[in-house]
């Protein structure tokens, strides 16, 4: 397993946000994490990244226990993050934002050029200050920045948010491409259909717990179940 | 901002002049309250010299003088056959610590006398405590006119010339030589204010015309605004009553900006520790002093040699006026003890009041006397200026005149009202 989460419980201060969440991702597997607002999806990602470490349970990445590891060590072990609010450094240029993200891990490394191939608009944005980017442009920078960090697992939080359909398709193609390169992706999405379309498996969360798990195709095809769980 | 932010309140290590005797800092075992065997009990003198704060440098300089006098006396077999010991505590140049140090010296260390002061505020605080207990206290180096005036005490004797003495010596000379357009700078505390007032009065008497007056907060480090003011006003003479580190900084900035020759500076007094190390050109302007180590008078050379033998590694290689004042004051105290045959405060005070001291003995030009009404030592005041042709690298000053004590007598001393003997507790630690 690339990532294995066993029964973690996470708190913000004293507020419990996760009540025993377990999930796993194999190398090269794309997994969707779905659920309504406030279900604990983002918290799950933050726990993996060590930003809000899980108080109980265990997280294992690439053969190492990372439950209590420092965020930068987790990142260097090969986990990349595309946060839902992009978290671009606004006073820096696009080029600098990307440069900051560059690092080597044991996984495949990516070049800026490859990023230009994925997001064609990116190239001429390079000298711009990120403050002046539109939301979609920021999202491209955020995804590229995560990939330049040579991750073995990418955590994508709402990557399609604010992106034009064409670009969402590019993103989803990128996800497929990552998969083909053996890189695992954990996809948190509101747009369940496009997410499920590229995913192998899916988890549905609610109230800080996993309420459903199974193959993505099953959710995609079983309309009543999908409707019950996701409303679409 | 203020150099009055001081701190260390400490007994800086008590030292005993008598070799080998362990000092008592703590513990009941060293308490000796039985005065019966007075004849062999050491005479203990509390030293209240500053070691931190604005006047730390000067405090250490006068400490060298007082200790030298004690050690010389001990070398001659002590006083009345008794050893002389000293206990020194840092007063931090703050009145608050001065009070506590005095309380401790008197009530815990049971000293017979206290010696040492630079800053008038601290000296006042100490003398109040001294007066309360009746302990004789020598103010060695505080030259605020109030020390022997408004704030005089029966137990306190003031050994330095006052700011007014120095002003009187300098003012007439300066008006004749430089002109009547005067500007006044002074440190904004009692010494500066009173000295400045005295200078102004004297100058006005001689016909000077005050164009401006600037109070400088204690602890000022950036004098550029003031120097610009001087440049704008273009006075003939700047009369400055600025002391300690403030003065040091100001002088440095004045000479850096090339304002040290025109206008003429009247610096009231330049204490040796404040000039030493800056080179002869830092001692600009005209100023008063009570002593100089290159005076061509009997005993001076010998004194300097003894100082150098005793303090070979000190940063200040020759004694200055501050060390001198400490030395002669302590020497006189020990003599008086010898003469009166004991340490009884009343006898000592009476012996000091009106006491005459010969010029030769004090290494000065004129005889000196302790004014019985103000307890202020009336002594020769030298007018000096920076030496253009120094004989050696310690020769900063060129002595211009030697004013006799009567001609520079301070009017502020007239204000002094000493406590009666009846109001002064008798004090004798045996």
């Amino acid at each position: 397993m690339m990532l294995q989460i066993d029964n973690i419980e996470t708190f913000y201060g004293e507020t419990q946000a996760l009540f025993g969440v377990s999930l796993e991702i194999a190398p090269g597997e794309v997994v969707s994490l779905l659920g309504p607002n406030g279900a604990g999806k983002t918290t799950t990602l933050r726990s993996i990244l060590g930003l809000t470490p899980a108080q109980n349970g265990r997280i294992n990445f690439d053969g190492k226990v990372i439950t209590r590891a420092q965020s930068h060590d987790i990142a260097r072990a090969g986990i990349g993050w595309v946060p839902d609010d992009r978290r671009i450094f606004p006073t820096l240029t696009v080029a600098r934002n990307l440069a900051i993200g560059r690092k080597k891990t044991r996984f495949r490394s990516w070049s800026v050029k490859e990023m230009f191939e994925i997001f064609t608009a990116l190239e001429h944005l390079m000298p711009r200050e990120c403050e002046n980017l539109s939301g979609g442009e920021m999202q491209m920078v955020s995804i590229s920045r995560a990939l330049l960090g040579s991750p073995g697992l990418v955590l994508m939080d709402e990557p399609s948010q604010g992106l034009a359909p064409k670009i969402v398709q590019d993103v989803m193609k990128t996800v497929t491409r990552l998969k083909s390169e053996g890189i695992a992706v954990l996809l948190v999405e509101q747009n369940a259909q496009s997410a499920l379309a590229v995913s192998d498996r899916a988890y549905v969360m609610d109230h800080g717990q996993v309420v459903h798990q199974g193959p993505a195709a099953e959710l995609l095809e079983d309309a009543p179940m999908r409707e019950r769980l996701l409303g679409v | 901002m203020s150099s009055k932010i001081t701190r260390r309140s400490m007994l800086r290590g008590t030292a005993l002049a008598t070799a080998g005797a362990g000092a008592a800092f703590f513990g009941p075992w060293k308490q000796n309250r039985v005065y019966a065997a007075a004849s062999d009990k050491p005479i203990k003198i509390g030293l209240t010299h500053d070691a931190s704060g604005q006047f730390a440098n000067s405090g250490q300089a006068e400490k060298r003088g007082t200790i030298m006098a004690i050690q010389e006396a001990n070398a001659k077999g002590g006083v009345l056959g008794r050893k002389v010991e000293y206990v020194w505590m840092d007063t931090e140049t703050t009145p608050q610590t001065g009070t506590r140090v005095a309380e401790r010296l008197i009530t815990r260390e049971n000293v017979h006398f206290m010696v040492g002061a630079i800053q008038s505020g601290t000296a006042n605080a100490i003398s109040q405590v001294a007066q309360k207990y009746g302990c004789v206290y020598f103010n060695t180096n505080s030259s605020s006119p109030t020390e022997s005036g408004k704030n005089c005490h029966r137990v306190k004797f003031v050994w330095d010339g006052s700011g007014e003495n120095f002003s009187r010596a300098a003012a007439k000379n300066a008006i004749d030589a430089f002109g009547k357009k005067w500007m006044f700078l002074y440190n904004d505390y009692v010494w500066g204010q009173n000295t400045n007032a005295a200078t102004k009065k004297v100058a006005a008497n001689y016909g000077a015309d005050a164009v401006d007056e600037v109070a400088i907060p204690v602890g000022t480090r950036d004098f550029s605004a003031i120097l610009l003011k001087i440049q704008q006003q273009k006075p003939d003479v700047v009369a400055a009553a600025v002391g300690g580190d403030d003065f040091k900084v100001m002088r440095k900035q004045v000479s850096d900006m090339g304002l040290d020759t025109s206008p003429a500076w009247l610096n009231n007094q330049q204490d040796w520790p404040d000039v030493y190390g800056l080179g002869a050109d830092a001692a600009f302007g005209v100023f008063g002093t009570t002593w100089y180590h290159l005076l061509d008078l009997p005993g001076v050379k010998d004194f300097v040699a003894r100082y150098q033998a005793r303090y070979p590694t000190t940063r200040i290689s020759v004694p200055g006026n501050v060390t001198y004042n400490g030395y002669v004051a302590m020497r006189e105290l020990l003599r008086v003890i010898e003469e009166t045959g004991g340490t009884d405060n009343t006898k000592i005070i009476k012996a000091l009041e009106g006491r005459k001291m010969s010029a030769d003995d004090r290494m000065q030009t004129h005889d000196a006397v302790i004014d019985p009404n103000s307890h202020h030592v009336q002594q020769t005041v030298y007018l000096a200026r920076g030496n253009k042709k120094p004989a050696d690298k310690t020769d900063y000053f060129e002595i211009l005149t030697a004013a006799d004590p009567e001609s520079v007598r301070a009017s502020a001393d007239a204000v002094c009202k000493l406590e009666s003997f009846a109001d002064t507790p008798s004090y004798d630690q045996g």
């Binding site: 946060p83 450094f89 820096l92 960090g149 | 901002m1 907060p217 605004a225 003011k229 850096d256």
Partner: protein
């Protein structure tokens, strides 16, 4: 009227020099607040320490007791001054690192603990200075080239002030270039903006903080060295330095580089002008300014939210 303004000119120059130095001083202070949300009350002591190290490296009686240093002291003043400008901040940076390591225990707690700890550190540093160099005033010897004054029109100008102003300006420019044109600067800016994201990108935040603290301390030291001939060098000179730094930050806003520079200039001007026209109250002006500024300005900073928030 013309005379008045001509007379004002040197005071204004004074204000500019002072202001630029305040800006330099507070930029280091701001960097530390920005990245680790600590109000470093020891900033002033680091400033003082910088000046003392420089004194040590400049003059024989500055406290270096080593005989083997004699060859070094025989160097002309200018190279020694340059060495002092480089080595002293480096030494102070090491001290800053030590302080940062102590501070680690306070991260994530009430910012008051950081304040108290740096307050204690300020006291300790001041005591250490007193123990090593004694309580007396020192003067930083300067190369001849930047001493003295010159006349322009009817007024006198200090060479050193002009040097200080130019030097501070150059340092501010270099700092700006460092922060905006180098990858290290980019990481610092990124860390100040969003330390969490920086961690997730694989940067060791502890090491970044250590570096930034050292860097801020070095800036304080540089400001201390340049300020030394103006303010003198004494153990508690640090108190005089940390208050303007704070006023500047509150005025200019945390995280706003040019805000700090312009606020520094404003504060310098206020201090210089009060010294010119209300000499007795010049030392008070800083505190009145602090009171006024905090009363009216503490909310609605130009910069980001931080530990400064009340």
């Amino acid at each position: 009227m013309v005379d008045f303004f001509l007379g004002l000119l040197p005071h204004l120059l004074n204000g500019v020099a002072l202001g630029l130095l305040f800006a330099l001083l507070s930029l280091g202070f701001m960097l530390i607040i920005g990245v680790m949300e600590v109000i470093n009350l020891a900033h002033g002591s680091l400033f003082a320490l910088g000046a003392y190290f420089a004194v040590m490296l400049m003059g024989q009686d500055g406290g270096l007791p080593f005989a083997f240093m004699q060859a070094y002291y025989d160097l002309p003043a200018i190279p020694r001054y340059i060495i002092a400008l480089i080595v002293a901040p480096a030494l102070v940076a090491v001290v800053g690192m030590g302080l940062e390591i102590c501070l680690r225990r306070t991260y994530g707690k009430d910012p008051l603990y950081g304040l108290l700890l740096t307050f204690g550190a300020a006291l300790v540093l001041e005591e250490i200075i007193r123990e090593i160099w004694g309580p007396a005033e020192y003067f930083l010897p300067l190369p001849k080239a930047i001493r003295g004054g010159f006349f322009f029109g009817d007024m006198i100008y200090s060479n050193y002030r002009i040097f200080a102003a130019v030097f501070a300006m150059a340092m501010i420019g270099l700092l700006w270039a460092f922060l905006n044109r180098t990858p290290y600067g980019a990481v610092i800016k990124a860390g100040a903006h969003d330390s969490e994201m920086v961690r997730v990108l694989g940067y060791n935040l502890s090491r970044l903080r250590l570096f930034v603290f050292a860097f801020g301390a070095a800036l304080a030291a540089i400001a201390g060295i340049v300020m030394a001939p103006i303010w003198g060098v004494r153990p508690h000179v640090g108190v005089d330095a940390v208050i303007p730094a704070f006023v500047v930050i509150v005025l200019g806003g945390v995280g706003s580089f040019w805000g700090a520079v312009s606020a520094g200039l404003l504060v310098g001007m206020v201090v210089a002008l009060t010294a010119a026209f209300l000499t007795e109250w010049s030392l008070l002006s800083m505190y009145l300014l602090l009171l006024v500024v905090v009363t009216f300005r503490s909310r609605g900073f130009a910069g980001k939210a931080s530990a400064l928030k009340a």
